[in-house]
Point group: C2
Chain length 383, copies 2
């Protein structure tokens, strides 16, 4: 699994974790960092090994800042001479240059130099924008992820992918920039709306079909505990997701090949998000329906059987996630999906590359005939 | 001298170069690339080792595109299935997000994927913006520099620094992203306005005091040939500048320390550019007056003698460049300079770091007492 590994103790976890903080170490040479997972981590943050700096800038949004902004600022004030906060508008539709520029405005207005440390307090949008701002400000400063959504904890806190959207495509402008530290405070999930918790579960479920059917079976058994936000179950789901992602990313930091399997469900999912207008479907919801589509395409290519597709479909549905894809264009629905997927950055030379399941627990990236893809779209949108 | 080196043959150069293309190789492991220097290189471009790609996008401006755009497009059409062009407004004042976004618009409108290659055809502004667009588009694509100003040929084509300006500071938003190839066609300098040729000479002169007094003496002897745009002299000036910069950058790619010496004259220079409003003084003009100020500061700190300052001043003046700094604020001129320099990204923790000459041919980076800096500003603005 290349350079990535985990220092977490599996035995310990199986017996009684969730009560004490756990760590996943992302091993990327000089860009290595730790993910801390546990309850009530924010108030005790100053006890962690925080990156040194002349100032900290907390980047949050109008939803999360009122909930946890003061707590984080208080903890950081013990460590940094200056702590500033910038609050961005909330939502995927604000993952734009305009919002990003508010971060630069704050940094420059406060006279922050290269030794500033940015703290991303929020979900994936805040994490992506803060990471990209950190990648670009004075050509690169440190940043720390404090993800407050399940999606961000299991997905965007590992991998170093940062970006903003462009009117013509999602995540089209960005950079690879690793955080110095990730703090997953499970207590912040208490205030997460149920719909967003479910959207986060979509990315947890994803790791089963592509890499770990043991996790998948565990999810089938523990889904109710996760939906009830039991911290022991959440800790396991977050940790295993981060570990699997770390293994994949560690083997392929710059997304040359293997890493693409993490996009299972995302090619169709991005088309759904873009086609419906960003923000109408949550990212995880698009991925959920997209996974069903990708599984169905895998079945039609003879890679998995119908029972597997049904098993995936059932778990996704139990999580409260959509299994049916939306109609994007009444006149030529499949054509619209294909058009949107061609502009996706996984389409190289106009050919759409799908992440398919090549037997449960194993993913493969390949193209598929347009006719077959159209059939899948017709089937999955019909119900 | 770290990883950087040059494959150019000094003896050969001294005897008869300028007639045949020369190469400087920038050795940066897997990001290594070549700088080709010679006359009439553009028409023969397809004979070079160009990076592979599904499409090329030429990024140029309204001044340069009409002069060389068709020539470059024609040459690239022999190598790429598709060649597109985007023409940006000309000038430092357009080194903004708005212009950068025109590049992203073009890339997405043409459906360009990760295998697109961007070609920067123009001066430093075009190079910086194209490089930054390449760094960010889909989190990183290849780009080639085709610098058409002396400044860009001797300075911005080596080092991988890319950026745009922010209303509150120059080059505040950017990335380190190395080109795959740099083509310095000396013939494109024929159309360069005299004022911009002189501005480029400022950066050539810079390499003398900080690293190579032999080059400085050569410049004293060959300045008239350079001003007359004799290609043999230009080839030598461009090559030596690239070689020296390559040595410095190779030893310090990410600007941790040594690389800062390349900013000789830039701390004062940036203050001049920002204080006058971007575009009023050319970058090289700010650097020219800034070098006199930094040399004067070095003298007052006892690092060099008055004769050295005068020798530098004379060469700068002969090149047609300003040796006197502008008054930025009639009420508190020195205060205004200090304020502008503190926001510069070389100011860490509020302390301004100056590149000073520690004896001819050797640079040092250090702070200086405000009172002394004020004296220098007063002297150099007075004349």
């Amino acid at each position: 699994m290349g350079a990535a590994g985990s220092t977490a103790d599996h035995k310990n976890q199986a017996e009684g974790a969730g009560d004490t903080p756990q760590q996943v170490r992302i091993a990327l040479d000089e860009r290595s960092y730790c993910i801390h997972i546990g309850a009530a981590l924010l108030p005790a943050l100053a006890r962690q090994q925080l990156p040194a700096g002349t100032a900290a800038l907390i980047v949050s949004n109008t939803t999360v800042a009122p909930l946890y902004g003061a707590q984080l600022a208080q903890a950081l004030a013990l460590h940094y001479p200056q702590v500033h906060t910038v609050t961005l508008p909330d939502g995927e539709e604000h993952k734009t240059w305009q919002s990003l520029n508010l971060i630069f405005d704050a940094l420059l207005t406060h006279g922050c130099d290269r030794k500033v440390v940015l703290y991303a307090l929020g979900g994936g949008v805040i994490g992506d924008m803060t990471g990209f701002a950190a990648a670009c400000y004075m050509r690169g400063v440190d940043f720390v992820q404090v993800p407050t959504t399940l999606l961000a904890q299991v997905d965007s806190s590992v991998g170093g992918k940062t970006a903003i959207n462009h009117p013509l495509g999602k995540n089209m402008v960005g950079a690879f920039h690793q955080p110095r530290l990730v703090v997953c405070d499970l207590s912040t999930l208490d205030t997460l709306p149920a719909r967003e918790l479910a959207a986060g579960l979509a990315e947890v479920i994803k790791y089963g079909p592509i890499a770990d059917m043991e996790l998948f079976a565990w999810l089938e058994q523990n889904l109710d505990a996760l939906l009830a936000r039991q911290q022991r179950a959440l800790a396991h789901a977050v940790r295993r997701s981060c570990e699997i992602k770390a293994q994949v990313v560690g083997a392929d930091e710059r997304e040359a090949g293997l890493r693409a399997i993490l996009n299972f469900g995302h090619t169709f999912g991005h088309a759904i998000e873009a086609g419906m207008g960003y923000g109408v479907w949550l990212h995880g919801e698009g991925v959920a329906a997209g996974m069903v589509m990708a599984a169905e395409l895998s079945r039609r290519l003879g890679l998995v059987d119908a029972a597997f597709v049904q098993r995936l479909r059932t778990l996704i549905e139990r999580a409260g996630l959509p299994v049916r894809a939306p109609v994007l264009d009444a006149a030529d629905n499949a054509g619209r999906y294909l058009q949107l997927m061609r502009v996706d950055k996984k389409a190289e030379g106009g050919e759409i590359r799908f992440v398919l399941i090549d037997g449960p627990g194993r993913a493969v990236v390949r193209a598929a005939p347009d006719a077959l893809v159209r059939e899948v779209i017709d089937t999955c949108c019909a119900g």
